[in-house]
Symmetry: C2
């Protein structure tokens, strides 16, 4: 998995509250079949052994399709299971520290909500930026809201792939037209769906529509 | 800090519920002055950035006194802050995986409650064993109880330093006489004390009394 050739267009994030462990592998495989291009394992409640086993299990699915598996926050789980990359927020390990820990070969994503955070993340070794929350979201109710012009400004200034996150759905994606983002990140839109393949297809179609309008 | 020359006799574990962050450095330094020989950072609730900063701050204290700082569960925090070692439980990263991740130079401790777990931990690369819960404890109410003869048997069979944990206090330590353990681990007995130096001195004195009876 080469750091610089990742397709970020349909970035699907797991949630063990929304999608229970026994359904997770099915849901992720269906999401990939529907067009998910990146999978992020986000697990804030499980013990480390469970997270490690989940990462290994997910990797067996993502590898089959050549899709990147990125682990949220836990650099140790990512390294132990040899996943493709790490995603850190502003309350996780500092970006430069995370980059040093995971080495130059792994993907490093960073959540930012301001131009300043975006520049700092880029300087410190980020490969891509997650920008949000763009729209109100129940998955992360405490997230700072980011205006569309800030999203646009971050994309213009950062020189890194930008993925929009927070309240992304087929209904809200059209509002992102003209922002030149590289992808959209979803949690519940795919993970909570009883038809994850169709849900991912719809997100992909909606994103492709705004992407061609660039 | 050499892996094989650690004095495990008075092993003090932090707890941010019992001892709030603003008091933590004071409490740990006083504990060391009272005779603590190992400090473990156990942080189950803070975000990763806070845990990393806490590890760095604690390291500035432990290094001053040549005392080992061991991080519970989070190999990434341990590596990022370059602490002396990692402690894993049975629900954390598998011991062999943890050893591979942290490398041969760092201390690796493992919580066990049976002879079988102890042997496995030893085979997989543990440097010392934490055995418990020996006595009932409010800090970890879900811990399995370990009989004194099991503690004794683990010490006899493992060939590794053994630290007893769970409900350890100056009142309960005398009951451990004859078990040939290498140390006692305490949380609340020191971390909850308004006089942590005196509390550590008392634990140390009680342990030295049973250690000389070996």
């Amino acid at each position: 998995m080469k750091r610089n050739t990742i397709d970020y267009s349909v970035y699907v994030i797991t949630d063990s509250v929304i999608c229970p462990p026994e359904r997770l592998l099915f849901q992720v495989e269906e999401a990939i079949l529907g067009g998910a291009t990146v999978i992020q394992l986000r697990e804030k409640k499980a013990d480390s052994l469970t997270s490690y086993k989940t990462a290994e299990a997910l990797l067996s699915v993502t590898k089959k399709y050549g899709v990147a598996l990125i682990v949220n926050d836990r650099a140790d789980i990512m390294l132990a299971a040899d996943c493709d990359g790490l995603h850190v927020g502003q309350k996780d390990l500092p970006v430069a520290v995370a980059r040093k820990l995971i080495g130059p070969g792994k993907i490093l994503g960073v959540s930012v909500s301001t131009v300043r955070e975006a520049k700092k993340a880029q300087e410190d070794g980020a490969d891509y930026l997650g920008v949000g929350a763009i729209f109100p979201t129940g998955t992360k109710p405490d997230a700072d809201a980011v205006a569309l012009n800030t999203l646009h400004e971050i994309k213009e200034s950062a020189g890194l792939p930008v993925v929009a996150i927070g309240g992304i759905s087929k209904e809200t994606i059209p509002q992102l037209a003209g922002t030149k983002i590289d992808g959209v990140a979803v949690v519940s839109a795919v993970m909570a769906s009883p038809r994850p393949r169709a849900a991912a297809e719809e997100i992909r179609a909606a994103f492709e529509k705004i992407a061609t309008q660039k």
